[in-house]
């Protein structure tokens, strides 16, 4: 590896924090979903970095990353389908306007 492991970890930590911030403060559901993609991406980066530097079986990290990508794709597909269904019924994609079950 050209750059030390710690730098990559710090980078992915910052990426993860940015994603988490987006999840916490975004009002738009699609915005929340794409922030989740950011977080998953940061996790993937960690997996790759560890598999490249500390792992005993070098394929493991990459295979887990492939699984994560697959899961992220399914999450995006189902989540966006839910957003579409919600939009069709409530005509909004903002979380604080969807408060029927909340008092």
């Amino acid at each position: 590896m050209i750059i030390p492991l710690q730098h990559i970890l710090i980078f992915s930590l910052l990426l993860f924090a940015t994603g988490l911030y987006g999840v916490l403060v975004r009002r738009n559901i699609i915005g929340i979903l794409i922030s989740i993609e950011l977080m998953l991406n940061a996790a993937n980066l960690n997996l790759i970095a560890f598999s490249k530097s500390t792992s005993l079986a070098p394929e493991t990290g990459q295979i887990f990353a492939i699984f994560v990508i697959a899961i992220a794709a399914t999450a995006a597909a189902v989540g966006l389908a839910i957003v579409l269904a919600l939009y069709r019924v409530r005509k909004t994609v903002y979380t604080d306007e969807v408060n029927l079950l909340k008092w």
């Binding site: 492991l5 710690q6 916490l24 991406n41 993937n44 490249k52 005993l56 899961i71």
Partner: protein
């Protein structure tokens, strides 16, 4: 040849900085379409870092699946739900200061932890070359069961997404 190594180092750090800027764009921009484009940039930048970590196959998969498929889906849904003008109404809720404070705490804590932990970096892992062939063998051998589970999940989610997003034929829907 050291100078080339220096160039690639500078390149990697520059990519990281750019990725972080675009990530901020993802969470902070008001126009959702711009957010999605920033996310695409982040994903491509991460793929470049994967290449730097000698995970070319994963980089290609990342671009193919994330940028090619997931991003298209996201942009499609944005087009369907947003108005063409790209409204610039408030996109964040009132938790933003609290979130910033809490998150900076987490970042500082985890950052110090990361720097202090002695990571067991092994020469064997550093030298290992992961070819597509070995990945495929691992996927079909050691990880055959999770692989099958993933395929079942994919099928289930495919059907689920179609069922959820399908228009109800029986009723006309709210007017």
């Amino acid at each position: 040849m050291e100078i080339l190594e220096l160039f690639s180092k500078i390149g990697i750090y520059a990519t990281m900085a750019l990725v972080l800027v675009f990530a901020l764009g993802v969470v902070a921009l008001r126009n959702l379409f711009h957010c999605a484009l920033c996310l695409a940039a982040v994903l491509i930048g991460t793929a470049m870092i994967y290449v730097a970590l000698h995970a070319e196959f994963l980089a290609a998969v990342q671009i193919l699946v994330y940028v090619g498929a997931v991003m298209t889906l996201v942009i499609f849904v944005i087009m369907l739900t947003e108005h063409l003008g790209g409204k610039t109404i408030r996109q964040t809720n009132r938790q933003s200061p609290a979130a910033i404070i809490g998150l900076s705490g987490i970042v500082v804590l985890l950052g110090t932890l990361l720097m202090k932990t002695p990571w067991p970096v092994t020469a064997k892992a550093l030298d290992a070359k992961v070819s597509v062939m070995s990945l495929g063998k691992a996927l079909m051998g050691t990880y055959a069961f999770p692989f099958e589970v993933i395929s079942v999940i994919l099928i289930a989610c495919l059907i689920g997404a179609i069922v959820i997003a399908k228009k109800d034929v029986s009723e006309k829907g709210p007017s």
